[in-house]
Subunit: 135 residues, 3 copies
């Protein structure tokens, strides 16, 4: 089973999609299986991170923004704006696809794990994730 | 088929789980398929790396520890200890899930590839991996 | 269904394999499913990146080469050449496996997404990818 999820981030940051992905798994009605989340973009990515304390996510974002800043004399690919090339680098360092086993109908996420879309651009527009559930 | 693996790292570093994962694949008795390893934590991760020379693994650990040090004025998420926030960052830069094809009943790992749990905390306690084998 | 792809990079850089992977998917003749690409090496990796403007890929390569340079007093694993240890680090920071859903017989890649082998060594020889297509 495949479903597409549309997410509309209002800027850079981590946007939780755990509930939306779990909804697809629930509709698939499989007892045991594998759920794969794929993002159809190269300037946004996926990450599984702590869903409890927002300060952990904020630090994570700020850390990556410092490692891959917008201002960098190295970049030659600049015609799509100053946030485009750093967005590609940040996406390459994180995940484009994530696979999570399903047990007794539920994702086997740990207690503190959430699934997040990691938006790397300032004005991204709509982002599409594709969720596949297999047996 | 799904099985959980428990690993008890005695500190930071790479802990090989290739044999344990191969055991699940063997018990699943599939000729051809896909094995997915998932880690249920956000301060430890997965990596496939060289299984031959331990110096490569040590250098890898030291490299990441230098890129993401414990002491960093950027961190505000500090109440769980000085090794918690760097552990989240290190986990975000590496893998939470890995998928390896199975051919003639065996993982198609390269000669020098081993599957490792990468522990990022000093006193982690027990870690749980979930291994899914599908057709 | 499983197929192996052989790629012969002529040095470091991103080598597109989208067409070759799509060929496996086409031969598998599944309407809906999941395609997983796995690389059997620890000094080369996989990445999904922009397939349009080559300047984005060049900047990506140069960025990672600057983050993980060949010259680094940290390395002790040096007997396989000055490009070996940085290759392991670069591979650990990027992907060893990628999973892409299949819908109506085609990979659901975004318009600007290409699948690339990211070669991290200067004289790599032949590299092997394993492509699994499941239901």
């Amino acid at each position: 089973m495949i479903e597409r999820l549309r997410v509309e981030p209002d800027g850079q940051g981590l946007f939780e999609v755990t509930r939306a992905v779990a909804g697809v798994v629930s509709r698939a009605s499989v007892g045991e299986g594998l759920c794969t989340v794929f993002i159809r973009h190269t300037s946004a990515s996926l990450v599984i991170q702590e869903n409890a304390d927002p300060s952990a996510r904020r630090d994570l974002e700020r850390w990556l923004a410092r490692l891959v800043p917008e201002e960098d004399a190295l970049y030659t690919h600049t015609q799509e704006g100053p946030d485009d090339m750093p967005a590609h680098v940040r996406a390459a360092l994180t995940a484009t696809s994530l696979s999570i086993p399903i047990e007794r109908g539920h994702l086997v996420l740990g207690t503190w794990q959430g699934i997040f879309l990691w938006e790397h651009r300032h004005r991204p527009g709509i982002r599409t994730l594709v969720v596949h559930v297999g047996g």
